[in-house]
């Protein structure tokens, strides 16, 4: 892997966004923060929320483009940006509840569930009360990632991702790495790169999917005017939608998705100090086998994301029973190590927020990551801290 001078990536990122209308990102930021309203409203371009939804705005879960946060208010833990995914026993989206439990609904409809969180020691306990009791349901928690560096991930050359894939571990290094091949907006099969199971083919598609699943906003990219309503939820399907000719016969137009994406792409990763001892320890422990520090973008310039964007088996401790695209239970996309700042302990880590600290997240790794995890354990206390400090400033 070639090293690049620090700062070069940042300069390149600036030139990549410089061509856009300067107001694009301002409009995108406004749409990101907009509280969408129920249809029908007079504001055709601003309605379409729900009928079932988890949040009214992107910003509700990704405040300022950041990750899920866990704050204690009057002794009560509150999670913002935490959702519960739902599936049938086979791991497919649940026939009644869909792929995710929506905790809000438009007036006249009942939300699917009430979700409460609390701490047991350091452990996060997520209590889900379903509005309609269901036995055959698999529930898994997911927390909102920071959106920093998502523009960088979007720019990465897909052939570089595919070149790292080694599904049957032919090189015998103990790391498999499988691309989650998925159709892009044009129907071409490409390696997915966004989402905990690499199901998002591009930042625009991932944004459109989040709009549909979390807010109930459909777009020509993900045309689901009733969001995550299922055929069994007749009252939800009967609800008015915010479809309008102004928004290309959906609730938000491709242009609106593009503007939001343009804003998200301005949230650049910080430039890590690659000369730090912590980085050497990270590399020498083998973390970089999956958390590949840099991949080339489409112009061949290195981008620092600390991920191979491939699916790996992380072992039982983080096992998942839900499928997503071709991702199997137990497989996760290597999380990009971008913006790991603990934010005064309001932050949690891993896909479902299981880990309270970066150290706990590392110790929870298993499966293909077990050898690297063990080398981390064997570091002396000072070295471990240097490695953790390096990660916290990413």
């Amino acid at each position: 892997m070639k090293r690049i001078p620090a700062g070069l990536a940042a300069v390149l990122a600036l030139t990549a966004t410089a061509a856009a209308d300067p107001l694009d990102t301002a409009m995108g930021k406004a749409l990101f923060a907009r509280n969408w309203v129920a249809a029908p409203a007079s504001t055709d371009a601003s309605d379409g929320l729900g009928p079932l939804f988890n949040a009214r705005s992107c910003n509700a879960c990704h405040a300022g483009g950041g990750p899920a946060r866990f704050e204690t208010d009057n002794g009560r833990l509150k999670a913002r940006g935490l959702v519960v995914r739902s599936g049938d026993p086979d791991g497919r989206p649940h026939p009644l509840l869909g792929a995710q439990l929506q905790t809000e609904a438009l007036p006249g409809l009942a939300a699917e569930a009430r979700i409460a969180v609390r701490l047991q020691g350091e452990g996060l306990v997520v209590e889900t009360r379903l509005q309609v009791p269901e036995d055959a349901v698999v529930l898994e928690t997911r927390i909102a990632p920071s959106l920093r560096g998502r523009g960088a991930i979007d720019r990465i050359d897909e052939t570089a991702i595919l070149a790292l894939a080694d599904p049957s571990d032919r090189d015998g290094d103990g790391l498999s790495g499988r691309a989650n091949m998925i159709a892009d907006a044009g129907g071409r099969l490409v390696p997915g790169r966004f989402g905990s199971k690499a199901t998002g083919a591009s930042l625009m598609l991932q944004t459109a999917t989040a709009a549909a699943l979390d807010l109930g906003l459909s777009s020509p990219l993900v045309p689901r005017p009733h969001g995550d309503c299922t055929p069994e939820q007749a009252d939800c399907l009967a609800h008015a939608t915010g479809r309008s000719t102004i928004t290309e016969d959906e609730e938000i137009s491709v242009d609106m998705v593009r503007l939001i994406t343009a804003y998200v792409a301005t949230l650049e990763p910080r430039q890590p100090d690659m000369a730090a001892r912590g980085f050497e320890l990270f590399r020498d422990s083998g973390c970089g086998g999956c958390h590949v520090p840099q991949l080339p973008d489409r112009d061949g310039m290195p981008v620092t994301i600390f991920s191979d964007l491939l699916l790996h088996d992380m072992g039982d401790a983080t096992s998942s029973e839900l499928r997503d695209g071709s991702a199997l239970p137990g497989e996760w996309r290597t999380a990009p190590l971008i913006d790991l700042d603990p934010r005064q302990e309001t932050r949690r880590y891993l896909h479902g927020g299981k880990a309270a600290t970066i150290e706990e997240a590392i110790r929870t790794h298993g499966g293909e990551a077990a050898p690297a995890r063990d080398r981390f354990r064997q570091l002396d206390g000072r070295e471990r801290q240097l490695l953790l400090d390096f990660l916290a400033q990413l």
């Binding site: 107001l23 301002a26 409009m27 923060a33 509280n35 029908p40 504001t43 609904a105 008015a240």
Partner: protein, 427 residues
């Protein structure tokens, strides 16, 4: 409609000088600028509050004795209340107390279907008649929102406030100027054609009641108006002698206090007004991506945003009683501290005022309402709006240049990436 200070504003504009004059040799300190900034905020919110109290009287009269005249008078009072609020918007960004509160008075877009009936016939439903969308507060004494069941048997300010604040920090928009506007006008179903909303006064008449639940609708209108006056009272007090917002800005070091003023002006100019309220509507050609969409008053609300920015910059505030509050604005401080940046920004702000005056004049003439200006294929209207947007973008650059010249640091809303971790905050 007549605003006594419109002439004054134009006069100031033409002379290109601040109304506050200094004796030779006087210097304006940042502390004096910050103090006058707080005085202006107190006065401007005070005028917004007084105009809202006049609206409250008109609403009370309408509710007591519904008639076309009473409804017309209430609409007129609403339109006359708007400039006094809009001109305060330059205080929003940079003052956390104002920004946290703003959603209660001027939130938009509006959850109108939560408040009252809306016409879904325009959404391609089969019925020729207006199909009344029923899950609204006015029609339903008992409501389910998310997992909550809400007793709405009595419509009071507390009830509608609780609806607004339902679901944590993310609110249903059920209060504020635009909720009142919706109740007074009803939906504007004219698209980009001429005409505003056309609610009949009998919607508030318990005897000749149209569209049902007229007493509950009247109670909602009165509650929302009372709440608006109370919320404005709160903000006046925040800028009063012992107010938290005044203390906040006066306790800041000089550079931060000046940065607060320019953050407000820059953020309103750029992300908020040029970006969200204007450019987005122009791109989408959405007749209702206008700010005062039920009343077709957007040309005024945009103009007074810009006029208010000039007041805050220059330190010269036309009051509701016809007097002018004068004192040192940041313009006066910059006259000696950054004269070139000041001259440049003076010109850019005057240009923006002229562009918005052109929109206002076009709207006031009756030739074209703002929603028509942003309509597809309206080259003349689109050009008017685009020129105004461009002037605000230029004004923002002028503000940023002044920030640099004064050696300050600010973060203009929507203008750059979030490289500063301190900017990543909860909404």
């Amino acid at each position: 409609m007549k605003f006594p200070w419109l002439g004054l504003m134009t006069g100031t504009a033409l002379t290109l000088s601040a109304a506050f004059s200094l004796a030779l040799g006087d210097t304006v300190t940042p502390k004096a600028v910050a103090t006058h900034y707080a005085d202006m905020a107190e006065a401007m919110y005070g005028d917004a509050r007084a105009a809202a109290a006049d609206l409250q009287k008109a609403v009370d009269a309408l509710v007591a004795k519904p008639s076309q005249e009473a409804l017309d008078a209430a609409r007129k009072a609403w339109v006359e209340s708007r400039p006094w609020y809009q001109q305060t918007e330059g205080f929003r960004f940079g003052n956390a107390i104002v920004d946290d509160w703003e959603g209660r008075v001027n939130a938009w877009p509006l959850d109108e279907g939560l408040i009252d009936y809306v016409n879904i016939a325009t959404y391609g439903e089969e019925s020729d008649e207006n199909v009344l969308y029923a899950a609204n507060v006015i029609a339903n004494p008992k409501l389910t929102i998310g997992t909550e069941t809400i007793d709405a048997s009595a419509i009071t300010p507390d009830l509608i406030k609780s609806l607004h604040e339902a679901a944590d920090s993310e609110a249903n928009v059920s209060v504020g100027y635009h909720a009142i506007e919706f109740l007074l006008w009803g939906q504007d179903l004219n698209g980009t054609g001429p005409g505003a909303g056309n609610r009949p006064y009998t919607d508030f008449d318990p005897v000749k009641c149209t569209n049902g639940n007229c007493e509950r609708r009247a109670a909602y209108l009165k509650s929302a108006t009372d709440l608006l006056v109370a919320d404005l009272d709160e903000m006046v007090a925040n800028w009063g002698p012992e107010g938290a917002a005044r203390k906040d800005v006066l306790s800041k070091p000089d550079a931060e206090a000046l940065a607060t003023i320019l953050t407000g002006l820059g953020s309103l100019s750029y992300g908020e007004l040029a970006g969200e309220r204007m450019k987005l509507g122009l791109i989408l050609h959405d007749p209702e991506e206008e700010h005062d969409c039920f009343s077709d008053n957007t040309h005024n609300s945009h103009y007074y945003d810009v006029a208010g920015m000039w007041s805050i910059y220059s330190g010269s505030v036309p009051r509701r009683d016809g007097t002018v509050l004068e004192g040192p604005g940041i313009q006066d401080y910059a006259a000696s501290a950054a004269p070139e940046a000041k001259t440049r920004l003076d010109g850019l702000m005057q240009d923006a005022l002229a562009r918005f005056k052109a929109i206002k004049d076009k709207g006031d003439s009756g030739a074209m309402a703002y929603d028509q200006m942003i309509g597809a294929g309206n080259a003349e209207g689109n050009a008017l709006v685009q020129a105004a947007i461009d002037s605000l973008v230029a004004q923002t650059r002028g503000i940023e240049a002044m920030v640099t010249a004064l050696d300050l640091k600010i973060k203009v809303e929507g203008s750059d990436s979030l490289d500063n971790p301190a900017a990543v905050q909860t909404p």
